[in-house]
């Protein structure tokens, strides 16, 4: 066990503070609007804290460190692309400005105004399917970090994560977005301190010059494979060499141009479509606040990949110089094990609290978001009579509970077909490509209609689903699955709209833009 009593005291104070703050906000929840979008009272800095805390989970730290371990600093190029995408969207207001102005609570709700109730329901189904599958591995990866960083017995993983999810569940189900915003704020502070302290200690431990020399030596030893697939990069890294160029992400052995171009399209879609990000846009006071929130958060995404990536690269160099990676560790679990070696007593308590903060803010934000979509877009449209405000709240809270139960069981048995990042990108793509196509066409193309929307939803989901279930057996590249879904969704929208009757005027897209 790596934790000392002082570490435990820090962790318990943090957990107690979060619970108290989350439960305190329950008193301000008067209806679903307060529960789902915090009464649209969120201002820009709180939005930055909440968005940053939600989008930087323990799962993020694990997979970005894995990329750093296998691909060196070049593995963090995706963070740079995300930064550029988020800034671009924040600068132009592309999609997010008209979406916020439309006054909806979820993205599928806009599709009812623009297309039809059936499109809203179908889009809601895809949003939930992709979102829940994506979130399914959060607990397992978060638990692995805690086990390896703290020295807890591996058999405790399920129990620790169940207890943690239980805590998050209580304040999320009771206080909704209001609790999530306030706990996100606390978690943003604790997590920020933990990340900065860890990064400084890691550089100090491994030594900057030694880190660079270690990566260069491993790349030279690896010989620079022509094109390192994720498994090849992983196997080489386990053996203490690098099959991927550690600094040049455009090199054929690293990501290469094709993958990075796909990522750029993918991240534009994420910034405009990913419901957990968009829920902050919809909770913002107005479109201008949402745009400022995006611009000011953009650079945060570089560190989101690069700093855990730095820890992963440092772990790689350290293990390569100390007899190689132990047999019971993988490229995913190497980083937390390394941190347990680097961080002194007292500091590790702060860092574990920071990582718990990362996990909790992500879990709460995601559970609330998907529960809101299920209620708002799948259940509510099917009701003959609207529920009372109390009934709406109760149902949404039960949905949060249901998602928590799903997370526990799915997270325990699913085996990743590739590395964690590819899994997350592809499951997210189940709805990202198609819903992004619907949003862009719905807001900016008056000729788009319901038939095109349905075709785009169905065709856009094919590529990612094939990868998810057959990717391992048939060795399908993630960028092929991902890029094909964008192409198929666009094809479905254009062909479906042009081959059927034009939508009745006046177009709802005009009202959405006002």
């Amino acid at each position: 066990m790596s934790l000392t009593p002082i570490d435990w005291i820090i962790i318990l104070i943090y957990l107690g503070g979060c619970m108290a703050a989350g439960l305190w906000m329950r008193r301000y929840v008067r209806g679903v609007q307060d529960f789902a979008v915090a009464g649209r009272e969120m201002d820009v800095n709180l939005g930055i804290a909440s968005l940053a805390a939600t989008e930087l989970g323990l799962v993020t730290i694990m997979y970005t460190a894995q990329l750093g371990y296998e691909k060196g600093f070049a593995g963090s190029m995706i963070g740079v692309i995300i930064c550029a995408s988020v800034w671009l969207v924040g600068r132009t207001g592309f999609v997010i400005a008209p979406l916020r102005t439309a006054g909806v609570m979820t993205i599928p709700e806009l599709f009812e105004k623009r297309f039809s109730p059936r499109v809203r329901w179908l889009a809601g189904l895809f949003v939930v399917l992709g979102g829940l599958l994506n979130m399914g591995i959060f607990l397992r990866l978060g638990g692995e970090f805690l086990v390896y960083a703290t020295g807890l017995p591996p058999g405790w993983l399920e129990w620790v994560m169940t207890a943690l999810l239980g805590l998050v569940l209580v304040y999320t189900a009771l206080g909704g977005m209001l609790s999530v915003l306030v706990t996100d704020f606390i978690q943003f502070l604790v997590m920020g301190v933990g990340i900065v302290v860890t990064s400084v200690l890691v550089i100090n431990h491994v030594g900057w010059d030694n880190l660079i020399a270690g990566l260069q030596t491993a790349w030279a030893a690896g010989g620079g494979a022509a094109a390192a697939t994720a498994p090849a990069a992983g196997e080489a890294a386990k053996a203490g060499t690098l099959a991927a160029h550690p600094f040049n992400p455009f090199h054929a052995s690293s990501f290469g141009w094709g993958y990075l171009l796909w990522q750029f399209a993918f991240q534009i879609a994420v910034a405009t479509t990913w419901q957990t990000q968009i829920s902050r846009v919809l909770a913002a006071k107005d479109a201008d606040t949402a745009k400022r929130m995006y611009r000011r958060t953009a650079f945060y995404f570089v560190g989101r990949f690069l700093l855990p990536g730095l820890w992963g690269a440092a772990a790689f160099v350290w293990f390569a110089q100390h007899g190689g990676l132990p047999k019971d560790l993988t490229t995913l679990t190497a980083m937390p094990h390394y941190l347990a070696i680097v961080l002194p007593a007292g500091v590790i308590g702060l860092v574990v609290a920071g990582m718990l903060a990362a996990e909790m803010s992500t879990d709460s934000g995601y559970m609330l978001t998907w529960a809101t979509v299920i209620y708002n877009d799948l259940v509510n449209p099917c009701l003959k009579r609207p529920l009372s405000p109390k009934g709406q709240l109760l149902l949404t809270r039960l949905l949060v509970l249901g998602i928590a139960v799903f997370l526990l069981f799915y997270g325990l048995w699913y085996e990743l077909p590739g590395n964690a990042w590819d899994y997350l990108a592809v499951t997210g793509n189940i709805y990202l490509a198609s819903v992004f196509t619907l949003l862009v066409a719905g807001l900016y193309w008056p000729r788009a209609n319901a038939a095109g929307a349905v075709a785009a939803l169905v065709l856009g989901a094919i590529g990612p689903l094939v990868f998810l279930f057959l990717g391992k057996a048939y060795k399908i590249a993630p960028e092929v699955a991902g890029a094909s879904s964008f192409g198929l969704a666009a094809l479905g929208m254009i062909a479906g709209s042009l081959l059927t009757a034009a939508p009745a005027a006046p177009s709802a897209s005009a009202s959405a833009r006002t």
């Binding site: 209806g31 800095n45 708002n376």
Partner: protein
């Protein structure tokens, strides 16, 4: 540091550490004030009465 990519990553790593440290203090201070304002606004809002007509999503 002859490799331009190496220089690129070194600048980004140290800028990220500085940016995260700055954000913790700056956003922490500002967002704390915004939470107070949000709570004040929510406290002043008229609560939903049990006999109010049910409302659909806006």
């Amino acid at each position: 540091m002859k490799d331009p990519f190496l220089l690129f990553w070194a600048v980004l790593i140290f800028a990220s550490i500085a940016w995260y440290a700055f954000l913790v203090f700056y956003v922490g201070w500002k967002a704390g004030g915004e939470i107070k304002t949000m709570i004040a606004a929510l406290s002043g809002a008229e609560p939903v009465k049990p006999d109010d007509p049910p409302r659909r999503a806006p």
